[in-house]
């Protein structure tokens, strides 16, 4: 049974369904090189032993990575990882990981 109301609403519903399907894709920008690996250790949980990066100032992440790379900031493992990224890559990565994914 299809009522006239359903007939009128159907094309809109299709559009909404298409939008819903496409929405997560639009919300997600492609990860710059290396960035998608970070969530293997850095989760969304605040206060975890390995700190969450979500919501941090990207500049702070860049500064931390630079300090890890130069040895200014002590680390167990991030000094070894930070050395794998150029300044430009680090900036792109910081901007991406500071967002919620």
């Amino acid at each position: 049974m299809v009522t006239p109301w359903q007939q009128r609403i159907a094309p809109i519903a299709v559009a909404v369904a298409l939008l819903c399907a496409a929405a997560p894709a639009m919300a997600q920008s492609a990860a710059p090189p290396g960035a998608s690996s970070c969530s293997g250790c850095h989760g969304p949980q605040p206060g975890a032993a390995v700190p969450s990066l979500e919501g941090l100032d990207p500049e702070a992440i860049v500064a931390a990575m630079e300090a890890f790379r130069s040895g200014q900031r002590e680390a167990t493992i991030m000094n070894r990882i930070a050395k794998g990224f150029s300044d430009e890559e680090t900036r792109a990565l910081a901007a991406w990981v500071s967002q919620k994914h």
Partner: protein, 420 residues
């Protein structure tokens, strides 16, 4: 699955009264991706692909996945097997269709996967994340029956519990033997973490016992760190026999719990045979494994070098410098999903970088790590020079304790990332 059904029902209802053709267009424009394997690689990849809006089907026969990382702590009585176990409920809630069947065959020309029950799944892109299989044809005397007596415990679950029971039942003063394979194999530092944690159990519960490692290699992952930790913590327990000292096991006699090497015979009270391995069976069936038994891939997309539209991730791959680890599988899954997303949208995939981090516990409060950053160079995933490496050799106990804390934190985070 409820999510996928309800969405389909919604679209279906919406299409009533509209030209039928339009609903077909909707159905056809959503690409279908099938993922085989619900471990660290497969589950991660399925979630990422679902977030891209694709219709994702995950094929995994086991209702519960038992994680290998930290399973050596189960052997040592430091952790329950339940802490290693994860379901796929969160994935189903996200709209991933989970099919609890074993993938039997792949027809690359038809883009079709056949399942054990005879049903089939069509795909636009297929991701295989089958992990490893033990090669029961590679070591004379070591077949599936032998593994029920001399466990490999290199797939976590029943085998882990079997080896744990054997260690518990062993008398003080007994000998444990671990046979370690040549490269490549799943989790390169794993045999040595296992030796360490079993030695910890022996030291604290059966201090007159010994542990012998018979190795088919002359060098191994994090070797300096393991060796110096063994000297400090387990000096009279662990003995490592290298390949050139006659460590390579060439034959197994399960009845007498004896391992035959090129130089002699070793009989143990508990014998753990970490046998040679290859990519999981479905990789062989799909024709994506080469003569080595492992799968060559394009390092940008993880598409098979041997079959189009089939991607392979995780332990099954030949991934250049990247070790076969859960961290690698998760990192590769995300890069592979991003590449598939680009390909299905007609865009060029981004050249990736990937990170690996592997922690090993030498004792409950003593962790060590190896890390690496990788990028494709001439078609091979290659270490970025100057990055990566192992924990320092001269670190204080506080550093080792911190890495043990990070090891546990890593496990909590990655399993949440993979399984929800």
């Amino acid at each position: 699955m409820p999510g996928a059904l309800s969405r389909r029902a919604f679209v279906g209802a919406a299409a009533i009264g509209v030209a039928a053709i339009r609903s077909r267009v909707v159905a056809q424009t959503t690409p279908r991706v099938v993922v085989v394997g619900g471990g660290f690689g497969g589950a991660s990849c399925a979630r990422e692909l679902r977030r891209s809006g694709f219709e994702v089907t995950l094929v995994e026969p086991n209702p519960v996945y038992t994680a290998c990382p930290f399973s050596n702590a189960v052997l040592a009585g430091l952790r329950s097997i339940e802490a290693q176990q994860f379901g796929l409920d969160a994935l189903e809630r996200e709209g991933i269709r989970v099919v609890r069947q074993k993938a039997a065959r792949v027809a690359p020309q038809d883009r079709r996967v056949s399942l054990d029950d005879g049903s089939t799944l069509d795909y636009d892109r297929l991701v295989l994340s089958p992990g490893i299989d033990i090669r029961f044809d590679a070591l004379p005397g070591y077949d599936e029956d032998a593994a029920a007596v001399l466990p490999h415990a290199w797939k976590a679950g029943e085998q882990t519990l079997l080896l744990r029971r054997q260690l518990e039942a062993m008398d003080d003063g007994g000998t444990v033997i671990i046979s370690a394979p040549s490269n490549p194999f799943r989790c390169p530092p794993g045999p040595y973490e296992r030796a360490s944690l079993i030695a910890h159990y022996l030291k604290t519960h059966k201090p007159r016992s010994k542990l012998l490692i018979l190795d088919a290699k002359d060098t191994f992952s994090k070797q300096r760190l393991f060796t110096s930790a063994w000297q400090a913590l387990y000096p009279n327990i662990i003995e490592w026999v290298s390949l050139s000292s006659g460590g390579k096991v060439t034959e197994v006699d399960a009845k007498t719990r004896t391992l035959v090497t090129e130089f002699g015979r070793h009989t143990g009270d508990v014998v753990n045979v970490i046998a040679p391995q290859r990519a999981g069976q479905i990789a062989q069936e799909a024709g994506v494994a080469d003569r080595t038994g492992w799968c060559p891939i394009d390092p940008v997309t993880f598409e098979s070098r041997l079959q189009p539209n089939i991607h392979v991730i995780g332990d099954a791959t030949i991934a250049g410098g990247m070790p076969k680890s859960a961290f690698s599988a998760n990192a590769q899954a995300k890069v592979c999903a991003a590449a598939i997303t680009s390909l299905l949208r007609g865009q060029a995939p981004v050249e990736p970088k990937l990170i690996n981090t592997c922690y090993s516990l030498v004792a409950p409060d003593y962790g060590i790590s190896v890390a690496g950053v990788y990028r494709p160079v001439n078609g091979v995933l290659t270490d970025v020079e100057g990055a990566g490496g192992t924990s320092p050799a001269d670190a204080p106990p506080s550093f080792r304790a911190q890495e043990a804390v990070y090891a546990e934190a890593w496990f909590q985070t990655i399993t949440a990332n993979v399984f929800g």
